[in-house]
C-alpha cells in the first residue's frame, strides 16, 4: 500500500488543522470563525488518537491479573485520556465564545466582521 494510505489518519489530522486555521483567517462571520477553530481542535484530537492506535490490539482492560501482560496487545489508553480532557477544555472554550457572541450580537446587532468593525468605529 502507498505510504499516504497507510497513514491516512495523520493526513486527516493535518487536513483538519489547516482547514481550521484557514477558516479562522478567511471567513467573515464570527460564528464561522469559531466553528473553524473547533475543526482545528478536532484535528489535534485526531492526531493524538491516531498515536494510540495499534493493529490487532484490544481495549486496555486486563481481565485476568495472573496472566502475563503484553503491552503490544493493548491500545495505548493515555492519549485517549488526554483527549477526554482536551475535549472538555474545547467545550468550555466554545461555551465562553458562544456567550461572547450572544453579547456581541445584542450590542452591535451583527456578527459579520466587516460590518462589526464599521460599527465599532462609530
Amino acid at each position: 500500500m502507498p505510504a499516504f494510505l497507510t497513514h491516512a489518519e495523520y493526513w486527516l489530522a493535518a487536513l483538519l488543522l489547516f482547514w481550521g486555521v484557514y477558516g479562522v483567517l478567511a471567513s467573515n462571520h464570527l460564528l464561522r470563525k469559531l466553528m473553524a477553530m473547533n475543526i482545528m481542535q478536532v484535528g489535534v484530537i485526531v492526531f493524538f488518537i491516531a498515536l494510540a492506535a495499534k493493529s490487532g490490539a484490544t481495549a486496555p482492560v486486563v481481565v485476568d491479573v495472573n496472566q502475563s501482560i503484553q503491552a503490544s496487545g493493548y491500545v495505548n489508553p493515555l492519549p485517549h485520556a488526554l483527549m477526554l480532557t482536551a475535549i472538555v477544555v474545547s467545550v468550555s472554550t466554545t461555551g465562553v465564545a458562544l456567550a461572547l457572541l450572544i453579547r456581541i450580537q445584542r450590542r452591535y446587532g451583527t456578527l459579520q466582521e466587516t460590518t462589526l468593525l464599521e460599527r465599532l468605529k462609530q
Binding site: 477553530m37 493524538f48 472554550t93 465564545a97 450590542r107
Partner: protein, 489 residues
C-alpha cells in the same frame, strides 16, 4: 505539611473559586471576605514555599502518590517559587483594588468576578508549579478561559477584542498541544524531566524540530512575543479597569516563564531549541525597538502601555537568548520588575479613567494636581520603565547591558539604548502633561479627587516595591535570581 506546599498553592485558590459563587448567593460580603482570605492564604503559602526552597533546595511533589514519570509531578525550585510569590502578590493587590471599583457591578451574580479571579490565579500558579507538559496545557487553558470571562465583564469594544484573543489564544494552545503530542510520540512521556533525558538520548530528528517549534510558537503567542503580539493592544486597551492591572502585569510573564522553563530546563540538550532561542533573540531585538516605536505613536495612555509591554517582553526574551549569566539575571530580574511596574502603571491608568474618565494623553493635563499620590506612583513606575536609577528598571537593564557587552552583541546593546530613549520620550509626554501643564482652560474644577484608599493603597505599594526592588537589587540577585538560573549556564 511542608512538602504539600507545592500543591496547596494551587488547590486553595482553585477550591475557593468553586465555593465563593455559592457563598455569594447568600451573602455578598461573605463571598468577598472569603476571596480576600483565599488570596492572603495563597500569598502566605507561596512565601513559605519560597523560604523553604531557598533554605533547603528544590523538591518535587507527586500528585496522588503516583511516582513520576507516570504520575503528575509538581516541581518547586527557586524559579517557580519566585513566580508563585509574584503571581499571588499581584493577585492580592489587584483584588483589593478591584473591590474599590467593581462594587456596584455584577450585582446579579455576586461573587462571580471574585471566583473567576481566583480561577485565573490558580491557573497561573499551576503553570509555574507543574512539571508535566499536558498539565501545563490544562492550566494554560484554565487561566485563559477565566481571563476571557474577566476581560469581558464590561460591555463595549472589549467583547470583540476578547473574542479575537480567544480565537488566537485557543489556536496557540492547540499548537502547543500538538507539539506536546509530537514529543510524546517520540519519547512516550509527558513528564518534563523525563522528556529532557529521553530526548537527549534520541537526538535530533525532523519530528523533534516540529514538536519543539509548535510548542515554542504556541507559548510565544501567549507571551505576545513580537510579531505574535497582535491580540494584545486591543485586549489591554478595552479591558475593565481592575482586570488589566493583573492580566497585563502577570499573564504574558507566566507564558514567558513556561517558554523559558521548557527551552532551558527541559529541551536544553536539543540543537533545535538552541536555534529557537537564537530566533527568539532576533525577534526580541525587533520587538524592543518596534514596541517602543509603536508606543510612541499612541494617543491613548492604555494603548501606549500595551505597546510598551510588547517591547518590554523583548527585554525579557533577549536576556534569555544572550545566554550568559548577567544577561539571564537581567532577563529574569526584568520579568519581576516589569510585572510590578507595568501592574502599577495599568492600575494608575485604570484609576484615572475610573475617577475622571480620562484615557488620552491630552486629557491627563493637570492630573498631577487632581490625583497627586496616584500620579506620583505613575512617575516612579515610569522612571523605572525608562531605566533611571535608583528604580528597579535601571538595574535589570544594567544587567542586560553587561550581558550584551560580554556576548559582544552590539545590535542588542544599541536596541536597548534606543528603546530606553524612546520610552523616555513617551513617558515624559504623559508626565509633562500631568505635572507641568495646568488644565485651567480645560477643567476649571481641578480640585483634588484622589482615589479611594482601597484603590490608592495597592498603587502606592507597587510604586514602593519598584523602589525597593531597585534599592535592594543586590541581595535579591545574589540570594534569589542567581539560584533561579538554569543548571548549565
Amino acid at each position: 505539611m511542608t512538602p504539600h506546599l507545592a500543591v496547596l498553592v494551587v488547590v486553595i485558590p482553585l477550591a475557593s473559586s468553586l465555593v465563593i459563587p455559592l457563598v455569594g448567593i447568600f451573602s455578598r460580603r461573605a463571598g468577598q471576605t472569603l476571596a480576600l482570605l483565599a488570596h492572603v492564604v495563597t500569598l502566605v503559602l507561596a512565601l513559605a514555599t519560597l523560604v523553604r526552597v531557598l533554605a533547603e533546595g528544590s523538591w518535587s511533589y507527586h500528585l496522588g502518590g503516583w511516582m513520576p514519570p507516570w504520575g503528575i509531578e509538581y516541581v518547586v525550585d527557586p524559579l517557580s517559587a519566585g513566580m508563585a510569590v509574584l503571581i499571588s502578590g499581584m493577585a492580592l493587590l489587584t483584588m483589593v483594588y478591584a473591590a474599590g471599583c467593581l462594587d456596584k457591578r455584577n450585582s446579579r451574580h455576586p461573587g462571580l468576578s471574585e471566583a473567576l479571579f481566583l480561577l485565573l490565579t490558580a491557573g497561573l500558579l499551576g503553570i509555574v508549579m507543574t512539571g508535566d507538559m499536558f498539565n501545563l496545557y490544562v492550566f494554560l487553558e484554565i487561566s485563559s478561559i477565566a481571563a476571557y470571562a474577566l476581560l469581558t465583564s464590561e460591555e463595549g469594544p472589549s467583547l470583540v477584542a476578547t473574542f479575537r484573543y480567544l480565537l488566537v489564544g485557543t489556536i496557540a494552545a492547540s499548537l502547543y498541544l500538538l507539539g506536546t503530542g509530537y514529543l510524546y510520540a517520540l519519547t512516550g512521556t509527558l513528564n518534563m524531566a523525563d522528556l529532557g533525558v529521553r530526548l537527549s538520548e534520541t537526538g535530533d530528528s525532523m519530528a523533534v524540530v516540529a514538536g519543539v517549534s509548535l510548542v515554542v510558537i504556541g507559548l510565544a503567542v501567549k507571551a505576545a512575543v513580537f510579531p505574535l503580539h497582535g491580540w494584545l493592544p486591543d485586549t489591554y486597551t478595552y479591558a475593565p479597569v481592575a482586570v488589566v492591572g493583573f492580566i497585563g502585569a502577570v499573564m504574558t510573564k507566566v507564558s514567558a516563564y513556561a517558554l523559558f522553563r521548557i527551552l532551558f530546563f527541559v529541551l536544553d540538550t536539543q540543537a533545535v531549541s538552541g536555534a529557537a532561542v537564537t530566533w527568539l533573540g532576533w525577534l526580541a531585538v525587533v520587538a524592543i525597538v518596534a514596541g517602543s516605536w509603536m508606543a510612541l505613536a499612541q494617543t491613548d495612555v492604555r494603548r501606549m502601555l500595551a505597546y510598551s509591554s510588547v517591547g518590554q517582553m523583548g527585554f525579557i526574551v533577549i536576556g534569555f537568548s544572550l545566554g550568559n549569566v548577567p544577561a539571564m539575571v537581567g532577563g529574569l530580574f526584568h520579568l519581576l520588575n516589569h510585572a510590578v511596574m507595568k501592574g502599577c502603571l495599568f492600575l494608575v491608568a485604570g484609576g484615572v479613567r475610573w475617577r475622571t474618565g480620562a484615557t488620552t494623553i491630552k486629557a491627563y493635563a493637570g492630573m498631577g494636581r487632581r490625583l497627586p499620590l496616584t500620579m506620583a506612583a505613575f512617575f516612579v513606575a515610569a522612571l523605572s520603565m525608562i531605566g533611571l536609577p535608583p528604580t528597579a528598571g535601571f538595574f535589570s537593564k544594567w544587567y542586560l547591558l553587561v550581558g550584551a557587552v560580554e556576548a559582544q552583541a552590539w545590535v542588542v546593546l544599541a536596541a536597548i539604548i534606543i528603546s530606553s530613549a524612546l520610552s523616555a520620550i513617551y513617558f515624559f509626554r504623559v508626565i509633562e502633561k500631568a505635572f507641568f501643564q495646568t488644565s485651567d482652560e480645560i477643567n476649571p474644577a481641578s480640585e483634588r479627587t484622589e482615589l479611594p484608599g482601597v484603590m490608592l493603597g495597592p498603587v502606592v505599594i507597587l510604586a514602593m516595591v519598584v523602589l525597593l526592588l531597585g534599592l535592594l537589587n543586590e541581595p535579591i540577585v545574589t540570594h534569589f535570581v542567581m539560584h533561579a538560573l538554569p543548571p548549565n549556564v
